[in-house]
Symmetry: C2
Subunit: 114 residues, 2 copies
């Protein structure tokens, strides 16, 4: 992560679920899309993503299936479930109130720098 990696903490699940709400995707693809959509601010590592996907699957938030790519390779696609969509909704609200709270604290501090 370029922007202090520790900021990422806690938002990874939100980001993954958000990506999957836009359609089924496989792991490697999610990493690339995150990097692209965030304009290279995020670069989630495989060692981070795969365990998250496995946890989400165990909890029923996503489901996986294998599918052969045009190239002939087998990819593991993930699909977000209704439960996952509910979870996404909650995480979005958490993020909204969290970022709002941070901005509120920042607003009360020294004048914003250029």
């Amino acid at each position: 992560m370029k922007a202090d990696k520790s900021l990422l903490s806690g938002s990874t699940t939100l980001l993954v679920l958000s990506l999957l709400s836009g359609g089924d995707k496989y792991g490697y693809q999610m990493i690339a899309e995150l990097e692209e959509k965030s304009d290279h601010t995020f670069s989630m590592k495989e060692g981070t993503l795969y365990p998250i996907l496995h946890t989400l699957e165990k909890s029923g938030a996503v489901e996986s299936y294998e599918k052969e790519a045009p190239t002939g390779r087998t990819r593991k696609y993930y699909h977000i479930t209704k439960k996952g969509l509910r979870l996404l909704g909650e995480k979005k609200e958490e993020w909204a109130s969290f970022s709002q709270a941070v901005n509120a604290v920042l607003a009360g501090s020294a004048p914003a720098m250029a």
Copy 2:
């Protein structure tokens, strides 16, 4: 932390420095102000705050001094240094790009819920 505690990661230093940029403060006071300014979204724990203050002091971002309160108790006040202000500036930029990136990913996903 009410909003998924793990979201806090990485933003604690930013929040503390931001508070101190508004004037010298002591630990207990910072916890109360954070809770108030964030409208009870944050409730930073002592076990989190004090080690952070010690680390910031070791790195020269803040300085501390003891001062007797009107009540007669001794309080340990922290003052942000020039180095600390620089650090605050960096952290603010990190936060700005991070939150922007998250919102960019969210924007590309399912329609925002109410």
